[in-house]
């Protein structure tokens, strides 16, 4: 679904990353991890096509849904107005969305349990609700590839859980290929099948989450010791990745 070959990007003389290659199949989730400023968002935008990479290619095997990091809107649109904008690629120039487009928008909202929010004003929603509305907008576009920039990083625990489990469900039930960036290895460990570590501008490592989210690799990535822990609650085992702050 997502096929990235030898992708490289530079701002002027500054190399951000190079030789990034990976491919992600339908129904799978991949997380991009790296310290602040290492180029997670730049990589994501190069894959999406918002930035032009200086080497390599990124091809998407299906319609793209993109959820940017900042979810603020200059005007007080209602949620349904925002979600129906996901239909932009299906609605021609000089045309407005028809009943079918609104049906797609309502289906997307109900899939995420947001039907009750349709007539509310987007800017009055909480961060988690906004993030879900943005995901609903991507779904309304009938995307097969969903790319998200820090979808859960700015949310409280409950909303982190809500967004992450929603993404897991969309990958499993709808077969979406999902690529996301995150600050939290825990989020990657929780839902991602694969992880891409941006160790340095010259060293991007791709592999399965188990392999990539090891204590050694994460310690190297963040420059801070980390400890993997396991917690037994009922019959469920939860694993955590604990940063050992100084």
């Amino acid at each position: 679904m997502i096929d990235v070959q030898d992708l490289g990007f530079r701002y002027g003389e500054n190399r951000v990353f190079r030789d990034v290659s990976f491919s992600l199949a339908a129904g799978k989730i991949a997380a991009i991890l790296g310290p602040n400023g290492r180029g997670k968002t730049t990589l994501l935008k190069s894959v999406v096509g918002l930035l032009k990479p200086d080497t390599g290619t990124a091809s998407l095997g299906g319609r793209l849904g993109y959820v940017a990091q900042r979810a603020e809107i200059a005007f007080a649109y209602k949620v349904i107005d925002i979600v129906v904008m996901g239909r932009a690629a299906h609605v021609g120039m000089f045309r407005a969305p028809g009943p079918k487009d609104y049906q797609h928008a309502r289906n997307a909202l109900s899939l995420l349990g947001l039907s009750g929010f349709a007539e509310q004003h987007f800017n009055r929603l909480s961060g988690g609700e906004r993030q879900l509305v943005m995901i609903a907008r991507a779904l309304a576009s009938e995307c097969q590839v969903l790319i998200l920039d820090e979808p859960a990083s700015a949310l409280d625990f409950r909303n982190q859980d809500l967004v992450l489990s929603t993404l897991r469900r969309l990958a499993e039930d709808l077969g979406l290929a999902i690529l996301m960036t995150t600050h939290f290895p825990q989020h990657a460990a929780h839902i991602a099948d694969y992880a891409l570590l941006l160790q340095s501008a010259d060293d991007a490592q791709w592999g399965s989450s188990e392999e990539m989210l090891s204590e050694e690799k994460l310690e190297l990535l963040f420059g801070l010791p980390v400890e993997k822990v396991q917690v037994q609650r009922g019959d469920k085992t939860h694993s955590g990745i604990l940063p050992l702050f100084s």
Binding site: L50, I73, A88
Partner: protein, 349 residues
Amino acid sequence: MQQTLVAGVRESRWRPALFIVLVIVLVLSALLSLAIGRFAVPVSHVAGILASALLPMEPWWTPVEARVVELIRIPRVLMAGLAGAGLAVAGSALQGIFRNPLVGPQIIGVSSGAAFGGALAILLSESRYLLIGLAFACGMLAMVIVYSISRQQGRASILMLVLAGIVTSAFFSALVSVTKFVADPDDKLPAIVFWLMGSFASASYEKVWLIAVPVIIGSAVIYLMRFQINVLSLGDEEAHALGVKVERTRWIALTAIALISSAVVAAAGVIGWVGLVIPHFARMLTGPDHKVLIPAAMLIGASYLIHVDNVARTAIAAEIPVGIITALIGAPIFGLLLRRTANKGWTSE
């Protein structure tokens, strides 16, 4: 109190009622405007004169009244209404495209560019078609200049846009001064000066057509693009990721905006602030969806400019240029809106 009112009117069940009220206000404004003036015609006579165009009837009005209404006031009201509607539509679309309720045809440079084009046309010939042609060409040119100055790394920030607009307007104002300076002071100079101040005093059916065709075509294009303008108002990256061809869409809309603005300038001179204040006010009533905002702004803009023109021709013995009144009303209102919205994130970018 204010908040609940605004929220209440935004509800879609109030929408038909809102539009009925706006249409009634516009019709009454037009009728009133046909009646009042230095030569007052009773409203009943105005109604009769209008009805007699459709149905044969015994006149209960004088032939002079009929001539005043038919030859002087109807074209004048039509022009004011069309200009107000056009400027409001152009302003609404601009504010959506640039994601900011604080821009208008003036800020983006169109008005000053069109003013120069018009002044140059008056200097060169008597032709109305040259006037509208040059006004459109220079209005468009000014917009391209503003746009290219303000764009950095593919993004146009609002602050840069406003500053580029100031720079460009200053430049074109200087060019207007040059045309005034070289104009014949007995003949061309007064023509340029009065035209620039903005007035409907010389309204005629020919001028009505001159303004009607571009305003109707431009507004139709913008209304057809209402959904694309909604998407553009999310920002370039979002719109691009949603599959909209951002540059092409924006330029089609901007061309329609320049067409409307320069037609208004060509026919009636520079009438500022309407395209800035009216869309802002309309958005308070309808919310930001351009499907509703554009027609509402159109109706409010038409009524507004008809009333401004009433004041212009009746307040004192001489005609006051319309542009002066819209600036006297618009600038303070805009100052208030600016203060009220400063903390809502609209001014930050």
